[in-house]
């Protein structure tokens, strides 16, 4: 089973996060666009979704809202970690389980993901 699905359009950030989390032993998949994000979650059924707020074509908040309204209750309850580069002012995302502001410390990311997966 897939541990983590990451939806992030910045290839460098995506690579960094994947590198960090793969080394912890988790299996990480990547989707690089807002478009098709929700389908990627449905087909991958990850234990955790890491979701960027600012995505091309379809924003992270829209994808999150759609996920929470999914008719599959188990899928709708998937834990979601949001990444935002909009600064502290936009950290208020009530539907997300956790929010991490960019830039973040790698330890911070690791600890947060570990907590959410357990």
């Amino acid at each position: 089973m897939l541990d983590i699905l990451m939806i992030e359009d910045e290839p460098n950030i995506a690579e960094a996060v994947r590198f960090i989390l793969t080394r912890e032993g988790w299996q990480v998949a990547l989707h690089g666009d807002g478009l098709g994000g929700i389908e990627a979650i449905r087909s991958g059924k990850p234990r955790l979704v890491i979701l960027d707020v600012m995505l091309p074509h379809r924003s992270g908040t829209e994808i999150l809202a759609e996920l929470r309204n999914d008719h599959d209750a188990g899928l709708a309850a998937t834990p979601v970690l949001m990444l935002t580069a909009r600064g502290q002012a936009t950290l208020h995302l009530p539907q997300a389980d956790a929010v991490l502001a960019k830039p973040f410390a790698n330890d911070e990311l690791r600890a947060m993901v570990r907590r959410m997966l357990n």
Binding site: D9, E10, N12, I13, P56, R86, G87, K102, P103
Partner: protein, 884 residues
């Protein structure tokens, strides 16, 4: 119920009405009019519209023709809700001119012609007298139903006896409270208050009966609706569009044009603000009155014998069910409806008859011994009214006796409605159209009247018959449409082809603009002092009132004593006040007879024209001031909107900057941390170091762009202006831009000869724009093979334009306006690589250089046009330096 008890109950009720009227009149004479003037009292008095016809007849109407009865309520509702503006206007103009009746209004508008007023009075009398008879009939019918003893056995009650007693009582009431005074603002507080009380009784009685029928006789609303539905099916109620339209028009007209309605709606109104409350409250009253009509009609048909008169279901239903008290209450309601209608109608008709028939006749006969005539005109007018009241009542009773009562209550009401509707076109036209004139009014009202007489009135009293019509055409609807159409056409045609006389012109201006041209041009000729006018006014108002008016006018002019100068203002006001007592036409004629010279001269006409002009200019000035205010308010609003938008933009911009800065920083920070991992492969280490290097470069570029943009936007950019050649600049831009996606090989389509254009500009800045635009084409052009077209053209002012067009898919229409905004990066950010500030910077550079950059839609691909002036504009501070 025994006859004596019934009579006693009635008498007690009548005594109550007398008492209320008396108390209200006394309160008014002591100046305590506040509660009398309350909008609710006014609204209730309007319910005089619901006469015995609506009280008894609506149920009869509904049992004969189903839903059609509703038109009688809907017409006024539509007028009150849809034309409240027109009603306000009507009341305002009528109050301004002290109008005493609808005949007076028409006459005042069309040059104060008494003949026209007399004619309208004639129509009103012919239309309304049978209607009065109808009310008397309804009262005596209801007596018959109610009294258990046979009426013929009782002295003075048999035959038309009841009606005679009722008529006599009503005449007494009307004379007592309708002709108490002859004040200029003729209002009847006592009568209006009594009517308001009767309106409440009417409503309560009808609602009580309705509740009894729905919950007492039927099993609640659901059962009732079922019965109505099955009845509707049995009888096949059909909505006939022609009849509905005609009846809506006619009942809408009636609410304004019927003499009694004009009396309560306009003459008794203190001011037009009353209509604010009445505008919703009166339709609500009508709705309440109409709510139970169908239930009562249907229950009546089901429970009562087939030969029972549907017009009396209202009474027979509770009486048959043994509900004597309810029946008595309903009887009082019907009695209220009939009596209030008769009283108001009689007052209105008597005012018209005395003002437009009797007084002019008397004045005409008395013309010879003029001036210091000792005769008291006031006494004559009051007596004329009393005689008129008695006559109307007597004729109504005689009519009832002669015809023996009509078979249905509804038909006679409709006859009156349609008759008075003929006055409406002239009235509305007179209020809205300055070109309307007297001949038009005569022609319209006359034609309408004759058609009404022939097609509706005479057949209704059994003389002649309506013309034969093809099957399927409803005779009533046809007559209504035909008479009103001919009426309007005649009115409009003669108004267009005729010329209004000067007085008409003046009145037309005043009516249509609803402004009071107070300094109007009545000039006193032949009289050099106010004495004879005072003598005359005394005859109308009585010594005390006349003296009070003259003294206040003198005081207004700054004179002591009681004789003001004969200024146009004074004469206008005097005439208006007199008109309030004896009608506009008579007042006009009387002042003429004293002040001399009935005809207006050319110089008067000039003054009329001046007055019109002044009024127009004044209106114009006010309109301008209003427009000015509106403009200022709009500017403020726009400025505020702009500031708000700017603030929103600023927030969005800061958010964007944050995002653009944090994104590369995230990579830098994450990979720096990763680099410290001990067991990293050499290849990974190199790759991650390169990412850090690239992202740091991206950060630097972003900061450079931001700085550049802020310098350009603030206008602080240092430009080094030199002569330059566009060909050279394009060459350099192409070679510099080829670093962007070098794998894409573009075919560049140029016309080099055209490019040798010398311009004076900041060459580096222009180069920056060209590189940016060409670089964008290289980044985004998705065509294969990619082609870039560059065209240079001189423009007329000595400047140049450079079009740069690629053959890609271009920019969709919705986004073309956005691309020059900051951070308007489109499509895939990874492919663009920049922060989305490039075109925003280009736009600022071109603005600094005195030119512009725009997107050219419809060129097949992305297309930009750069326009350059021959030389950049001289900055303001530089210009200062030059002058110094």
């Amino acid at each position: 119920m025994p006859f004596e008890a019934l009579v006693a109950g009635c008498l007690a009720y009548v005594a109550l009405m007398f008492g209320v009227a008396f108390a209200a009149d006394r309160a008014a004479s002591q100046g305590r009019v506040r509660w009398l003037d309350h909008p609710v009292v006014y609204t209730l008095s309007l319910s005089v519209y619901c006469s015995a016809w609506t009280f008894y007849g609506a149920v009869g109407y509904a049992s004969r023709s189903g839903l059609e009865f509703a038109t009688i309520y809907l017409g006024p509702t539509v007028v009150f809700t849809g034309a409240w503006w027109g009603l306000r206007r009507l009341v305002r103009v009528a109050r301004m001119h002290h109008v005493t009746s609808i005949a007076d209004l028409i006459s005042a508008r069309f040059g104060k012609s008494n003949r026209l007023a007399a004619f309208v009075t004639l129509i009103a009398v012919i239309a309304a007298t049978p209607y009065v008879a109808l009310q008397l009939q309804s009262v005596s019918l209801s007596f018959e139903v109610f009294a258990t003893d046979s009426l013929t056995d009782i002295p003075l009650a048999g035959g038309g006896g009841t009606a005679l007693w009722v008529a006599a009582g009503l005449a007494l009431f009307t004379i007592l409270f309708g002709t108490r005074n002859l004040a200029a603002d003729e209002r009847h507080h006592g009568v209006v208050t009594a009517i308001a009380l009767e309106a409440v009784v009417k409503l309560l009685a009808f609602l009580a009966l309705g509740v009894f029928v729905v919950w007492g006789l039927a099993d609640g609303p659901a059962d009732m609706l079922g019965r109505i539905a099955s009845r509707a099916q049995d009888q096949g109620w059909i909505l006939k569009p022609d009849r509905w339209t005609a009846l809506l028009i006619v009942s809408g007209a009636a609410i304004v044009a019927l003499p009694r309605m004009f009396q309560v709606l306009v003459v008794e109104a203190a001011d037009e603000d009353r209509l604010g409350t009445a505008g919703w409250a009166f339709p609500a009253y009508l709705f309440a009155m109409s709510l139970f009509v169908l239930p009562i009609a249907v229950m009546g048909q089901q429970l009562l014998p087939a030969d029972a008169n549907p017009d009396l279901y209202v009474l027979t239903l509770p009486a048959q069910s043994g509900q004597n008290w309810l029946a008595f209450l309903v009887f009082l309601g019907g009695f209220s409806a009939a009596t209030s209608m008769v009283v108001v109608c009689t007052i209105a008709l008597a005012t018209m008859i005395s003002n437009h028939w009797l007084v002019p006749l008397w004045l005409g006969l008395r013309r010879k011994p003029q001036g210091d005539d000792p005769e008291d005109l006031r006494g004559f007018v009051l007596n004329a009214r009393r005689v008129a009241i008695l006559s109307v009542m007597a004729v109504g009773w005689l009519y009832y006796q002669a015809t023996g009562g009509t078979t249905t209550l509804a038909s006679m009401g409709l006859v009156a409605f349609t008759g008075m509707a003929q006055v409406l076109p002239a009235m509305i036209g007179g209020l809205l159209w300055r070109g309307a004139n007297r001949n038009g009014a005569y022609a319209g009202v006359g034609c309408g009247f004759l058609l009404w007489l022939a097609m509706i009135f005479l057949p209704s009293v059994g003389i002649g018959s309506p013309p034969p019509l093809p099957a399927g055409v409803d005779p009533l609807a046809f007559a209504i449409f035909l008479s009103l159409t001919v009426n309007m056409l005649a009115f409009i045609a003669l108004s267009i082809f005729g010329m209004p006389d000067p007085v008409e012109r003046l009145q037309g201006l005043s009516f249509v603009s609803a402004v009071d041209p107070i300094r109007h041009s009545r000039l006193a000729r032949g009289a050099d002092q106010a004495e004879p006018l005072l003598v005359m006014a005394r005859r109308v108002w009585g010594a005390e009132d006349a003296l009070r008016f003259f003294r206040s006018e003198a005081a207004f002019q700054g004179k002591s004593g009681y004789l003001p100068d004969l200024t146009p203002r004074f004469l206008t006001r005097l005439e208006r006040r007199l008109a309030g007592s004896i009608g506009a036409a008579t007042a006009h004629a009387m002042i003429d007879s004293v002040a001399g010279g009935a005809e207006l001269t050319v110089s008067d006409l000039m003054e009329v024209a001046d007055e019109a002009q002044r009024a127009k200019e004044e209106t114009q000035r006010l309109e301008n001031a209003t427009a000015e205010l509106a403009r200022t308010a709009r500017q403020l609003r726009e400025a505020n909107d702009k500031l708000t938008a700017l603030s929103v933009q600023k927030d969005a911009f800061l958010g964007q900057i944050s995002h653009e800065l944090r994104t590369p920083m995230t990579s830098v920070r994450a990979f720096s941390d990763i680099l410290r991992t001990p067991d990293l492969s050499e290849a990974d280490r190199d790759r991650f170091a390169k990412i850090i290097y690239d992202e740091a470069g991206r950060l630097t570029r972003l900061l450079d762009d931001l700085l550049d943009l802020s310098v350009l936007e603030s206008g602080q950019a240092q430009l080094s202006i030199t002569p330059a050649n566009l060909h050279d600049l394009i060459e350099r831009a192409l070679s510099a831009a080829s670093a962007t996606r070098p794998e894409r090989v573009f075919r560049v389509d140029r016309e080099p000869l055209d490019e040798y254009v010398a311009v004076i500009t900041d060459a580096d800045r222009l180069l920056q724009v060209l590189i940016n635009v060409i670089g964008n084409a290289r980044k985004y052009c998705d065509a294969e093979p990619p082609v870039l077209t560059i065209r240079v053209r001189r423009n007329l002012r000595g400047g140049a334009q450079i079009d740069i067009i690629d053959n890609g898919s271009g920019i969709e229409a919705g986004r073309q306006a956005l691309i020059f905004e900051k951070f308007a990066r489109l499509n895939d950010p990874a492919r663009a690589g920049g922060a989305g500030l490039g075109l925003a910077i280009c736009r600022e550079i071109m603005a600094n250089l005195g030119g512009e950059i725009t997107y050219l839609p419809g060129q097949g691909g992305a297309a930009f046009r750069i326009v350059l002036p021959r030389r950049p504009p001289v900055p303001v501070d530089a210009a200062h330096r030059l002058r110094a």
